[in-house]
């Protein structure tokens, strides 16, 4: 791994993120001011990029593909939605739609305290760590990996979706939760709030990117790659890979959770469709398109794919699934390392056949 000071793509993307974060508020009031829609879209894209990073950390660097990362994303989303609804209720007295729909007079007891953001955050962190830790422990302990792990995580997110579709759970059921009006005491939907959330998302993305870059460049990162390449070999060198995998898995789940907490206030609604197996699979596609095992690739992949999706959702929504399946086929057949391959066609070849870490195969069969 090159030193981070010499990692030019990383530095370039980091600089771009920080510059955008700075430009959003600075351009406000000038003729160059971005539309609310654009600022909001940038914020959502940044949240997706954080989500992509969380998956790349375990898939690209640990060789564990999760097809259920939507679970942690939605967990963060649901908790922040609970905070927003409870907080809005405390400030404006608006009773959430889903309570009225169910004919309930009051919030269920487990909503107590969610009006305070620190409490909500703590619940999200504890819950995510607990769910990820427990599931990771039993899976990694019995050495479930590869395709098995992928489909079991997919079953996990599917089951969670079915659970949340029930209306009697007290989390909005089928219709989900919406109607967030106040955040941190400020009204939502204003230009200021939209810009603020977008800037926060960009800053968190930059922070997570830098943090992951530091981690994978460390001695611990080398052990992650070693686990990916040959786990038995690493174990027989004296390393309990269970602990290592569990730690990275939980960290990844927490990052996905943070992404969900950033995403939901910006999109203004959460419902169980966030837990559909399709979304979780899509995350893997962003990473694969960007370049698995490259943090910058994951960020660029998520931004690019979702930008196309945003645009198509206006222009021709029915075409999107076909474009997506075409992109997947293209990336698995022609550019196995995603955009990295494309970039290398021009940039790296003149310097000679330098192989990158991610060129090597997946975990051994």
């Amino acid at each position: 791994m090159t030193r981070w000071t010499a990692d030019r793509p990383f530095l370039a993307v980091l600089a771009l993120l920080l510059a955008t974060a700075a430009a959003l508020p600075l351009l406000a009031g000038t003729p160059l001011e971005m539309s609310r829609y654009l600022a909001n879209a940038i914020g959502q894209l940044a949240a997706f990029a954080v989500l992509a990073l969380s998956l790349d950390l375990i898939w690209g660097y640990l060789g564990i593909l999760s097809l259920g990362h939507g679970l942690f994303f939605a967990l963060g989303g649901y908790v922040v939605a609970m905070y927003l609804l409870k907080h809005s209720f405390e400030v404006t007295g608006t009773v959430p739609d889903f309570l009225q729909f169910m004919g309930w007079k009051d919030f269920p007891f487990y909503w107590a305290g969610f009006g305070a953001f620190p409490y909500a955050l703590a619940v999200a962190v504890v819950l995510t760590t607990l769910v990820a830790g427990l599931f990771g422990y039993v899976s990694f302990r019995s050495r479930v990996g590869g395709v098995y792990f992928a489909i079991i995580t997919q079953a996990l997110v599917y089951v969670a979706m079915l659970l949340m579709f029930r209306n009697d759970t007290g989390f909005g059921g089928n219709n989900g939760m919406t109607g967030f009006s106040v955040m941190f005491g400020w009204p939502m939907g204003t230009s200021g709030m939209i810009t603020g959330l977008a800037v926060a998302s960009l800053l968190v993305l930059a922070l997570v990117l830098a943090g992951c870059r530091w981690l994978v460049g460390s001695r611990f990162g080398a052990l992650m790659l070693a686990t990916r390449d040959d786990e038995t070999r690493l174990r027989t060198l004296g390393y309990e890979t269970l602990r290592l995998k569990l730690a990275v898995w939980c960290l990844s789940a927490l990052i996905a959770m943070v992404a969900g907490m950033l995403y939901v206030p910006q999109v203004g609604i959460i419902n169980p469709r966030l837990l559909s197996p399709e979304l979780s699979l899509e995350i893997a596609v962003w990473v694969a398109i960007g370049g698995r095992g490259h943090l910058v690739g994951a960020v660029v992949g998520a931004l690019l794919v979702n930008a196309i999706k945003f645009w198509l959702s206006f222009a021709a929504p029915e075409v999107w699934p076909f474009i997506l399946s075409g992109l997947i086929v293209l990336v698995v057949l022609v550019f196995p390392n995603g955009l990295i391959d494309l970039a290398r066609l021009r940039l790296v070849r003149p310097m000679g056949p330098r192989r990158l870490a991610a060129d090597v195969g997946e975990a051994r069969p």
Binding site: V138, V147, A150, I151, A155, L163, L324, S325, P336
Partner: protein
Amino acid sequence: MTLWRLPLLIAGLLIAAPACAAGAEPAARAALVEKLCGNAGQMGEAAAALSTLAASGTPEEIGWAAPLARAALDKTLACDDTGAVLAATGTDAVTRAPRAPAPDARTPVLSLKNRAVFEQADAALALRSAADPATRTAALATLERRPAALPEGLLEAAAQGETDPGLRTRIETLAQTAALNAADPAARIRAIGRIAEHPSRRALTQVEALAKDPAYAADPAFRQAVDAGLATIRRGIALGDALATLYNGLSFASILFMAAIGLAIIFGLMGVINLAQGELIMIGAYVTWLVQQGLRQAAPALLDWYLVLAIPVAFLVTAGIGIALEALLLRHLYRRPLMSLLATWAVSLFLVNTVRVVFGTQNLQFETPFYVSGGVPVIGDFIFTWNRMFAILFAAVTLLVTWATVRKTPLGLNIRAVTQNRDMAACIGIPTRRVDMMAFGLGSGLAGLAGLALSPIYSVNPQMGQNFIIDSFMVVVLGGVGTIAGTVVAALGIGQINVLIEPLWGAVAAKVIVLLMIIAFLQWRPEGLFAVKGRRK
């Protein structure tokens, strides 16, 4: 009616009843007609006599009696000194010889009470004599209003002569109710015994109602009969429910098995989980529908056989898609199982959305051929339905054919060889890539057959694949890689557990519990139920 005439009336009834039973005699017939023209009390007796005739008379007597009841109700009976005339046909009420009524003839008027009795008599006679089933059905509906007052033996006789099976069932049910409410305690106890022989929820309601009957508290023999009958019925219902659960579980397991066996073979062989398997099931169902539509156009006479005729078509189309998928995509992703996973998802996306664009998102309408409609009631409320039996039999045949293919054919031998040791198989000249392709075709074709088999049971739409794919994954994980036996056992287990838990805590809880059980199971046997142990690489 004054009180002192009551004994007389009873005596008259006692005399009249045998006279009417032997209603062939002209004198008895005349007496009956005379009563019809008499006062309210006599008319009531006449109606009772008509009812008794309906229960125990010969067809000739019934034929004679039927117009009388009708005429009394329709006010077309003209009474005069010599008897009565049926105005509708212009015949004498007793002899049925044509004659005109006397000028001073009067029409008897029915009291409110008698009207009900005559309606019942009329219905009883119509039930036994009317040629038109619709008339009989209407008559039965009238009788069902007051089952307790029916003459004994009427319904049994009517059921025996009834040609329409649906109507007969209704008559029998009514007979039970009537017998349960009969005046004779012994008849009631016998009726309870007869009902208990065919337990169902309706029988339970019928007998449970008797616990509120005054006789239940008063008559110990009756109470005993009711309690014993209830116990028998409850046992029967419990047994029926258990069988129904097992049966539903078995049919769900059959579908799961067919969906999963292809997955398991492919996974064992290539280490690839085909995320498009659910969509291949969907395609199989759509092909079945297309075959049905084609037959409707080209050969309507064969329409009923579309499920059978679609078998080769569904298999070949999905197998073709599978082979194309393997040759165009997966072949190039050799030993990259996770990328293969994404590639098959791309195919699944493509198939769902193509079908959505071409056919729309609504559920397809399927004909129900005679061999998958209805069923045989077994015990309690368990009905052995043919549509589920079709799926079960289909899966059994699929199992046999798959087993024979894997165990007895050269392709099967090659599949097993490559599954066990790909490199070694390649060394001894087995064309591993060709085997991959054929096996993928086989696995995909089996998914198509699953789609065919489930089309008479589940709704068919572009999204249906999702409902089966996750459960199929679980079957593969539980069963172990590439073993037929493991797939069968796992499908049966997951199918039954789903069906068992569902009525208790709901479908979602069933899925949650199944997933948790599988994760727990993997702690104990990470390679699945039937994995062959070997040296770890």
